[in-house]
Symmetry: C2
Subunit: 174 residues, 2 copies
DNA sequence: CGTGAAACTTTCTGGTG
DNA sequence: CACCAGAAAGTTTCACG
């Protein structure tokens, strides 16, 4: 699983455009890439079958959903054994507040990205979902001032080769 | 900006379904929500105009794009002043390896999520894009074993109310 | 908010270099 | 084999009730 795939310049351009707007029509996509719509469709389907494209997701504004405060929680799970960490990860993943869970090298085993309503909600979450549990040895909370989602995750060659790199989403500079 | 918005159960169900698959047709969406396709379209357009839906993006497999190794870099920028941190963030954001940049509370000012080809590539990135620069006082690198993208970021009420919460994307438990 | 029809997109077929 | 043009099927979108 996850072998690298050969992507020609047309594939890269298609991926680049689809990352700017995944709802662009094949007609417009084809026009911008310089091939026929049916060819675009073939390419995209091939990229999907190859597992390069995993899916299409919505980007939502957490603030508008009543989750204006985000934080990163560093968590030590001790003892760090399969029978404890498996259930721990599943439990955290199923929290409505959890956005992403990372299993990391280093002294802090997990980093959990959460979005909550406010400080009181964050305190409740830390106390109830983390420190109340026996396997959680330590939690360190860092608040997120601001966050930037970066570029289109394409091979450097592609970006260098394809001249115009259009607007990344993400906030303005501080 | 970013005031909370009133979302009725239909809006929440639409968002929930669109998060599972942002390419579902309005016809199918309407059938599952139990309203007419045109009503779904109205709702989605309203959510877009309200800023709840920020956009549609592609989820790509970093491994298939030759970025099989991911890491989190904790960075101290000193002195932590606007004229230094602004350019720093812009420079990091424009790295093809950067996925997300967080500005945080706590001793480490920034956390940068990166995806690279391999260990040599990561070493090169840390040395060239971070420690080589005067404003970067300290970098701490943690590798990512595994990562899970969690639930649909909807108000807890919505998940509780709407019974079936379908498959989240993300890997299996360790 | 729903119906139905017009406009558009996606998708397939068959043919070409 | 990848590509394209055009036609068929399906989807989005709009005016109106």
């Amino acid at each position: 699983m996850s072998d690298s795939v050969v992507l020609d310049p047309v594939d890269l351009e298609i991926l680049r455009l689809l990352q700017n707007d995944a709802r662009i029509t094949y007609r417009d996509l084809a026009a911008q890439v310089g091939v026929a719509a049916s060819t675009c469709l073939d390419r995209v389907n091939r990229l999907r079958r190859a597992g390069v494209i995993l899916g299409h997701v919505l980007r939502l504004d957490p603030g508008k959903l009543g989750r204006g405060l985000q934080a990163l929680l560093s968590v030590q799970v001790r003892p760090h054994r399969r029978e404890l960490v498996g259930p721990f990860v599943e439990r955290i993943r199923s929290l409505p507040e959890a956005l992403t869970v990372f299993h990391l090298t280093g002294p802090d085993d997990y980093l959990v990205h959460v979005a909550v309503r406010d400080m009181a909600d964050l305190q409740r979450l830390v106390l109830d979902a983390f420190t109340a549990h026996r396997e959680v040895a330590r939690v360190e909370t860092r608040l997120i001032f601001q966050q930037w989602d970066c570029g289109p995750l394409l091979p450097p060659d592609a970006r260098a080769a394809s001249g115009t790199l259009t607007a990344n989403h993400g906030g303005a500079a501080p």
